[in-house]
């Protein structure tokens, strides 16, 4: 793409202009990241007097640690469930709203609201709703013979954080799906209607395939969200428990480092996560930016 080039008469001025952003990036992103990489190869004694280079010991231990491998498993379950639920429901809502004529603006506004809620607040909200002693949902579940207790039952805890995390993300996905659907030319669905396809068939054979760039983009964004931004939800509701049931990777980085004070292992874990993001970003730039071609 051709962009307009600005030429500065002063050689120093352009550097001054980018300096604030550069400083912020360096101090808050690059420097901590290199520190993390560095400390993932080191072991520090409990009092912080001596630091010793240990190579990839932390990484080897990590992938032999059943607790870490358990956490990977939990994360996969969590990520798949949250992504599937939030994208599935968002698609359903978007399809429903795009059929509306007059009230679509109203519903769109309402459906976007949850996105403004911070993850921690979303977590607490659902924690209240699902609270085993005061929550309304466990009270209702009792009529179906379910004794709900997210403090004791790992599956219940997992369901709770999945719902809280997915609920928040639906808004975001919904907006993208809705915009995507609105950009599918009306005449295509009309042509399909004349070609004998009912509403459901039109959706699956015409609209959904044409949404594939949006779907792929959202898939990447959602995985990123689930892997990192859900920390607040876990911290506000289950703290990774009960018995590691909701201890997903991003929360384990925190709990091992700041509660368990095993900085070396925590750093190694965050480097693993970092590599994961880099890979995702690469895929995104490689395929999404170039648009998925149909």
């Amino acid at each position: 793409m051709e962009t307009k080039r600005t030429v500065f008469p002063n050689k120093l001025l352009p550097y001054l202009f980018v300096a604030p952003q550069l400083v912020i990036t360096l101090v808050f992103f690059i420097w901590p990241a290199t520190q993390a990489v560095k400390s993932s190869f080191e072991r520090t004694d409990p009092f912080g007097f001596s630091t010793q280079f240990v190579g990839i010991t932390h990484y080897i231990r990590l992938f032999q640690d059943p607790l870490y491998l358990n956490s990977v498993g939990r994360t996969v379950v969590f990520a798949v469930a949250v992504t599937a639920i939030s994208m599935g429901l968002a698609l359903l809502f978007a399809a429903a709203v795009s059929r509306l004529v007059r009230s679509s603006q109203f519903y769109t506004t309402l459906l976007v609201w949850p996105y403004a809620v911070a993850p921690v607040v979303a977590g607490i909200l659902w924690w209240f709703l699902f609270n085993s002693s005061t929550g309304i949902l466990p009270y209702m579940l009792r009529y179906f013979g379910v004794v709900w207790n997210a403090n004791l039952n790992g599956t219940h805890a997992m369901i709770l954080v999945i719902i809280a995390a997915a609920w928040k993300q639906i808004s975001y996905n919904f907006l993208f799906f809705l915009a995507g659907m609105q950009s599918v030319p009306h005449s295509l669905t009309e042509a399909a209607a004349i070609d004998g396809a009912g509403p459901l068939k039109r959706f699956w054979t015409i609209v959904f395939p044409l949404l594939s760039p949006t779907t792929f983009f959202l898939f990447i964004v959602n995985i990123n969200y689930v892997m990192f931004d859900t920390f607040g939800i876990i911290a506000a509701t289950t703290n990774g428990g009960p018995n590691q049931a909701t201890n997903i990777l991003v929360y384990k980085v925190y709990s091992d480092g700041f509660i368990g004070l095993n900085i070396g292992s925590s750093s190694a874990q965050s480097v693993v996560l970092m590599l994961f993001v880099i890979a995702l970003t690469f895929i995104q730039f490689r395929y999404v930016e170039r648009r998925v071609n149909y």
Binding site: P185, S187, L188, E190, A191, A192, A193, I194, D195, G196, A197, G198, K201, T205, I206, P209, L210, S212, Y294
Partner: protein, 350 residues
């Protein structure tokens, strides 16, 4: 194959804006009817009502013997060619053609037979495995036609199918669509704002304006005997010269007896204005030349007549070597005067 009958068909949006004012039209089996009119005249709305893409506020649409008001587009057994072609971009040409047949659970061998046949007729065989975006405008147009043909529907509906093509291709496709429609003998409704398309393609021409039918007839009949001032001005390029009758009578020293007192406006086709006196009874007007447009095969001469507000356009074969300011004698045979009622603007019998 079927006839299409519209009776008292009306379309009102949200109970306020009326797009179609109770309209009657019958289209015979195998006929190609062209709906023509300026933008916003309701021609596309009417087509979409026949297709089932717009609801019908009141009145009846029949395809064959079936009342289709309440039927879904798919159940009406019609095929439509859209202005932007509406090809499914993620499907190959073959899949585009097959889509409608698959939805109707046509057996596989039959699908293959029909797709091959349509591809042969439209000469799109080499592109069957390409995606629409790899095709030129003309090729996409053919695929859109193919999608209609393979279905073998009761009727084809065309919504300004040629308006996205360049002039040359438009001319070719016009002839081709006409030939194809004749060969297949499928009842067709064709919407266009291009009156050249309308004149050349139609078996029956329907001129619409403001949600009403102004005139229905064979193209030449509409051209030579326009039923209203609107049709007179709309059909033909340039349209008829429309001159207030009293003013013309004053200048020409009286009008022939065939022009009755009810006549408010006289219409004169540009090609009916001669620069030399014909040997039939005629009017003579003295005019001053304003401008000449050379089209190549003919010239359009714009002139003004003292005492008339509007310019008079005349069409003369070959190249007219006139200069602005030059005086001209305009001759119009009495038989070529069209009279329109002062009140209603309808044509007066003559």
């Amino acid at each position: 194959m079927a006839s299409i009958t519209l009776s008292a068909v009306k379309k009102t949006y949200q109970g306020q804006v009326t797009a179609i004012h109770g309209l009657d039209l019958s289209i015979a089996d195998g006929e190609l009817v062209v709906l023509v009119g300026p933008s916003g005249c309701g021609k596309s709305t009417l087509l979409r009502m026949i297709a089932g893409l717009e609801t019908i506020t009141s009145g009846e649409v029949r395809i064959g013997d079936t009342m289709v008001n309440r039927l879904e587009p798919a159940e009406r057994d019609i095929a439509m060619v859209f202005q932007n072609y509406a090809l499914y971009p993620h499907m190959s040409v073959r899949q585009n053609l097959e889509y409608g047949l698959k939805n109707r659970r046509t057996p596989r061998p039959e699908i293959d037979r029909r797709v091959t046949e349509a591809a042969r007729i439209l000469e799109i065989e080499p592109f069957l495995d390409r995606k629409p975006r790899q095709l030129s405008g003309g090729q996409r147009q053919r695929v859109a036609m193919g999608r209609a043909i393979v279905r073998q529907p009761k009727a084809f509906l065309f919504d300004e199918p040629l308006s996205n093509l360049d002039a040359k291709l438009r001319g070719q496709m016009r002839v081709e669509i006409r030939r194809l429609q004749r060969t297949l003998g499928t009842t067709s409704v064709y919407v266009t704002h291009d009156q050249l398309e309308a004149m050349t393609m139609a078996d029956k021409l329907v001129v619409m304006n403001g949600g009403r039918i102004e005139q229905v007839g064979r193209p030449l009949e509409v051209y030579s005997r326009p039923a209203s001032l609107f049709v007179a001005g709309f059909m033909g390029s340039p349209g008829m010269n429309l001159i207030p009758a009293p003013a013309l009578a004053g200048i020409a020293g009286g009008l022939p007896d065939s022009v009755g007192p009810a006549c408010g406006t006289i219409g004169i086709r540009p090609e009916d204005v001669a620069l030399t006196a014909p040997d039939r009874p005629h009017l003579r007007l003295d005019a001053v030349l304003d401008a000449v447009e050379l089209v190549g095969s003919e010239s359009l001469v714009y002139a003004h007549v003292a005492g008339l507000d509007s310019e008079v356009v005349l069409r003369t074969p070959g190249i007219h070597a006139g200069e602005p300011g030059q005086t001209l004698g305009l001759h119009i045979a009495h038989a070529d005067l069209h009279c329109f009622d002062a009140e209603s603007g309808r044509r007066l019998a003559s």
